[in-house]
């Protein structure tokens, strides 16, 4: 096999159908970029669940009189509540968060929104027991047991809020993958179409090749490589787009929540881990599409 010959044929082919080639590259890049975005969201979700499920607690908020009257929790009903919580099976730890501590934490969380901090008064925040469960699924037991007990304002599971957040993120991920699949279909049709066009514009060459006894590989390889080259360029474009999106867009817009440790930072390492997958998908799809197209539609 003479590589120089094959590659000069590939270059000619790509140049001749330059508009189709560009369309093929752009569609492939968009599809792969979306796929990469979806994969990055998956990584984000993984990281977030690590951070959050570690921190998930059940909060037993205390009534106003306990919050102000028994700050150190040395009187009834606070003492009983604490003991009751500590003795419930499945409870790992119970920590009292006083009104002042709650306010301090509030200030920290909303550091970047001073006007909100300005508005809030410590009096608006109840004291609470932060209860850590060995198994977060045991929440209903705690809720049933302690809701309505003297001194208890309400029992809240932070997990339900997190579930909503993760539902949202999963939804975004699924939508991204869905669009990636639709775009991917468009990319496949374009690749197929471009190869057919390419084979048509080179029908004289291909006819002569057949006639003089070129093997199937020799006739097909330039077309296959054309599709591969476009696919790989598309993949690189998608990777570059992801890097740009990370630095120019994600890091800036999400700067505050990332600083506050609410949303984990996506590092360049995440992009690097996702990239080979995109390349692999690009190579696989363009090779298979190319091969099938040549078999089905092009007489070589």
């Amino acid at each position: 096999m003479r590589a120089s010959f094959v590659f000069s044929e590939v270059a000619t082919g790509l140049r001749r159908n330059v508009t189709m080639t560009v369309a093929m590259i752009i569609t492939t890049a968009i599809s792969l970029g979306l796929l990469g975005g979806g994969l990055l969201i998956v990584r984000l979700i993984d990281k977030m669940s690590e951070i959050y499920y570690d921190r998930v607690e059940v909060a037993v908020f205390l009534t106003e009189d306990v919050s102000t009257g028994d700050v150190a929790c040395t009187q009834q009903p606070c003492v009983d509540l604490r003991r009751g919580l500590e003795n419930t099976p499945g409870v790992e730890s119970v920590v009292l968060e006083t009104r002042d501590q709650a306010y301090a934490r509030f200030k920290q969380i909303f550091e970047t929104q001073p006007e909100l901090v300005e508005l809030a008064r410590p009096q608006a925040l109840p004291a609470s027991f932060r209860v850590k469960l060995a198994d977060p699924a045991r929440f209903p037991v705690i809720e049933k047991e302690f809701t309505g007990r003297p001194g208890v304002l309400s029992v809240k599971d932070q997990g339900t809020f997190l579930e909503r957040l993760f539902d949202l993120l999963n939804g975004v991920r699924n939508a991204t993958f869905a669009i990636a699949v639709v775009q991917g279909l468009a990319a496949i049709l374009l690749i197929s179409n471009t190869i057919q066009l390419s084979a048509y514009t080179r029908r004289t060459e291909v006819g002569i090749m057949r006639l003089v006894g070129a093997t199937r590989w020799y006739t097909q390889l330039p077309f296959l490589i054309e599709a591969l080259v476009a696919g790989v360029i598309g993949a690189f474009a998608a990777i570059v787009a992801m890097v740009v999106a990370k630095y120019a867009f994600l890091d800036r817009i999400l700067a505050a929540p990332i600083e506050a440790n609410i949303i984990p930072r996506l590092t360049i390492l995440d992009v690097v881990i996702v990239s080979p997958l995109l390349l692999l998908v690009a190579v696989g799809i363009s090779a298979i599409t190319g091969y099938v197209t040549l078999r089905m539609y092009v007489r070589l």
């Binding site: 003479r2 003089v212 006894g213």
Partner: protein
């Protein structure tokens, strides 16, 4: 060299067979004219030899190959030993004369040093030395056909098939092309030429196989185009 045994070919779109129980044998080194009106089966004859089609019935042998039974992946080997020339030359218009000839060798994987050696040789054989770097559109029809013949011959085929090679050329140029084909024939290459050209067939006095409605109606060793035409 070529042997057709009771070969019939029926195309799906037609009720009448394109070839009807045709048996022809051509020895190595022969020069054979294949004549007959349009639709008589000449093109089908050539297509079967090249394995562009397979016969509906009968056997086709070229050299050592049972063509109809040849596995797909071996078809290129057959075609590498058959040179083809057409009425419309079929040159690549964006390549020079030398590149056109080299192309036929490149695509079957011949090494570059071989190509550099044999292309000038074959250009000399067809009388086009000095025109290696011309583009096809800068050449006359006769010269273009010489390039096509050079391309067909450059890999030293066992069999050269020419389908109306003089169909687009004036009588003088046609004579030149025939002299060239004769010269190639003298190197031992079997030449099979389908033609309508009376004067050429009559003047060469070579073997003539005449087809009509898919049948061989005449096979003469030193024939003319036809009596009373």
């Amino acid at each position: 060299m070529i042997r057709l045994e009771q070969v019939s070919k029926v195309y799906r779109s037609s009720t009448r067979p394109a070839l009807d129980r045709v048996s022809v044998e051509v020895d190595k080194g022969e020069f054979v004219f294949l004549i007959g009106p349009s639709g008589s089966g000449k093109s089908t004859f050539l297509r079967l030899l090249l394995r562009e089609d397979v016969p509906t019935k009968g056997n086709v042998f070229v050299h050592d190959w049972n063509v109809a039974k040849l596995p797909r992946r071996k078809v290129p080997q057959l075609r590498q030993r058959i040179g083809c020339v057409f009425q419309d030359f079929r040159l690549l218009l964006n390549k020079t004369v030398a590149q056109n000839i080299a192309f036929a060798l490149e695509v079957i994987g011949k090494p570059a040093h071989t190509i550099r050696k044999v292309v000038p040789e074959v250009l000399e054989l067809v009388g086009l030395e000095g025109k290696a770097h011309r583009m096809p559109h800068e050449l006359s029809g006769g010269e273009q056909q010489r390039v096509a013949i050079a391309r067909a011959f450059v890999n030293r085929p066992l069999l050269l098939m020419a389908d109306e090679p003089t169909g687009n050329l004036d009588p003088d140029t046609s004579q030149d092309i025939m002299l060239l084909l004769e010269r190639i024939n003298r190197t031992g290459t079997t030449v099979l030429m389908a033609t309508h050209d009376h004067s050429i067939v009559d003047s060469m006095r070579r073997r003539v196989v005449e087809l009509n409605l898919g049948r061989v109606i005449r096979d003469e060793s030193r024939g003319v185009y036809g009596v009373g035409r």
